[in-house]
Symmetry: C2
Subunit: 211 residues, 2 copies
DNA sequence: TCCTGTGAATTAGTTCACAGCG
DNA sequence: CGCTGTGAACTAATTCACAGGA
């Protein structure tokens, strides 16, 4: 069904294409050419066609792609056919932003639990969810049938928390802590580091200034 | 001074190396081998040496790198020698999280202004900053001598805001809006899309399940 | 004609492997 | 020795270019 090994960059682009396909759909467009999709997504038409070709051929020569079936197929490829249950580990400001980020629920990610270590936070309510004690992490994950964990803690406790998450069966982690997490084969980690993003912009600024 | 064209992936790793060099420094380590740095950063020693080699040779054969001078040099390369003044466009939850994210100020990024369109938010105080009217964007940028803008608005108004930012001289933008921004030559945009990150995890989950 | 699908060519990025210096 | 610095080899990713179907 799914081909051997797909590059991360390809998967990211598929998610982006899907977003614009849904926009085309809302606008009542029935078909779209690789070129139109490429312009929206900031890439080239050849790239779009190549990305899609890894999964089959969905287009009509001379015409383009049917918007609705292609969007359906991309959702299937990306595993968005069912809602994913997500837990947030750490209940700081970033967690608060994530909990009520509408972009997640709109795309099928449902946040079912938030845990923290700080007794001052435990018991408080965040967007309808009561913050629970991280001591009960295993129970919370099992009860919530959580598939994906979002780690928004300081660097210090991150690895120990990941070890517990892995032990209780989590295989997908979005990590905001600035550490390289060690996980066994079969567990996926995506790192997001906002300071690093700003530092690459800082580099770009000074590289330009030096020219 | 700076070499021709450095890959984005290399710049990101330099920022990560710097983080661990600072940790080594705090621990009183005087020197560090490429191998130790590589382990922390989740890469290989050859990659570390290659990344550094683009900018010169800083190491001592048989010994490794002197922690403090290498950290200094990386800060210089990354343009972190002076503090960068940052404005946040959009004052939602994510903006609130960013404003008091200590990781930014710790690395020399100072948030000097927050603007929003919503009259209900304008005038409110966020981590010591009064939220200003986006109508005054140009004035705010000039007054604050802002170098970097962080865009945390919905997709709709994003492009128009970027046009105004570019017109008033901004050349570095961190974009959280799910659109591909059009900017002229000489302006850098880094996109962060949290939904896309989760979707790549969703893909990984279903790709594994299909095996 | 228009636009897809895809091998081939190209370019970019990573890893290897070893000479050379402390 | 131990570990850096770096050309060369390799692998991955992107772009080209065109045959072929609607």
């Amino acid at each position: 069904m799914l081909p051997r090994k797909i590059a991360d960059s390809t998967v990211r682009r598929l998610a982006i294409y899907l977003r614009f396909l849904e926009e085309f759909q809302r606008q009542g467009q029935a078909t779209v050419a690789s070129d139109a999709l490429a312009q929206r997504a900031g890439t080239t038409s050849a790239q779009v066609r190549k990305d899609l070709s890894f999964f089959g051929s969905f287009g009509t020569r001379g015409l383009g792609y049917d918007v609705v079936p292609l969007a359906d197929r991309l959702r299937e490829i990306l595993g968005l056919g069912h809602r994913h249950r997500v837990a947030i580990i750490g209940a700081g400001r970033l967690a608060a932003a994530l909990v009520d980020y509408t972009g997640f629920s709109a795309r099928g990610f449902e946040i079912v639990a938030v845990v923290d270590r700080d007794p001052a936070r435990i018991g408080a309510v965040l967007a309808g969810l009561t913050i629970e004690d991280v001591a009960d992490l295993e129970h919370v994950v099992r009860r919530g049938e959580v598939e994906i964990a979002i780690l928004v803690t300081p660097a210090g406790p991150a690895q120990a928390l990941v070890d517990r998450l892995v032990a209780v069966g989590i295989t997908a982690i979005l990590n905001f802590a600035p550490v390289q997490l060690q996980v066994p084969e079969g567990v996926d980690v995506k790192n997001v580091n906002l300071a690093v993003e700003l530092e690459t912009l800082s580099y770009a600024l000074s590289a330009r200034a030096a020219t």
